[in-house]
Symmetry: C2
Subunit: 152 residues, 2 copies
């Protein structure tokens, strides 16, 4: 994609909110991710999930975060002049993510500023929220997208 068609720092406005993404996570994907990264019983087995306080087989929180990341890259970051991220803040896993739920996401631009050290870099503080199609909020997290300036 030509650079001038990419979203740059200037294209995000403080207060702006946008819905993006759609992701259905299957029981197999939940178990495969858990097997590799988070092999706790409630992420591996339906019966163990039912017996746990989570109420059923559900995705690892890191899986839900990775799914948010997927929706972000698909939804706007993949066509932006993204430079990465230094971190996150106040990540809340509010409700378990169960198999075959359809997830969507929303970002809200909380703040933005130019980097003082790196003139071509913009620092955008975002709130991201993940919902099920039923409207239940599953996860929310604040964090930073580093995005290049169009005109440093």
């Amino acid at each position: 994609m030509p650079d001038n068609e990419l979203l740059h720092f200037e294209d995000f406005a403080v207060g702006e909110s946008r819905d993006f993404g759609r992701y259905v996570v299957t029981a197999k994907e939940i178990k495969d991710f858990a097997q590799e990264f988070d092999p706790q019983p409630f992420h591996l087995d339906e019966e163990a999930g039912k017996k746990s306080i989570l109420g059923g087989l559900c995705a690892s929180g890191w899986h839900t975060g990775a799914i948010l990341m997927h929706m972000m890259v698909d939804g706007y970051l993949g066509r932006s002049a993204s430079l990465g991220s230094p971190g996150l803040d106040e990540l809340k896993w509010l409700k378990p993510v169960y198999p075959d739920e359809t997830l969507t996401a929303r970002f809200t631009v909380l703040a933005k500023r130019r980097s003082t050290k790196t003139p071509e870099m913009g620092i955008i503080t975002m709130l991201w929220e993940v919902f099920s199609t039923g409207g239940e909020k599953k996860m929310e997290v604040m964090g930073v997208n580093l995005v290049r300036l169009r005109q440093p």
Copy 2:
């Protein structure tokens, strides 16, 4: 594992620190994870990584987090009466994780208290740090492990 052999809330002491885990992440694993969850050029391609501010092909931050989770389950959580986690705070991706680096982790117990709503549940606030074997700190994050009490 019999319940009395599991680590319970009572077995974690505030101020306690423990090293755990060992994980080598390959270029293939970095690219596979990125393909599925974080397909940004610097997580998919060596040349794109070199051209980016990250200095080379490097793991998605969500991948590094998932690797920490793997080391946690392997290192102590898998033989504990774990009940899950409600969230994280102040997650910092301090340095890029490159292929074939050996990662290790450390937890420090920052605080602990019994749940007021759920008498059998303990809430342990942890600091987790991820290092390369060269001693460089790659990531740090605070968060909560919910762990069952031995004697509610």
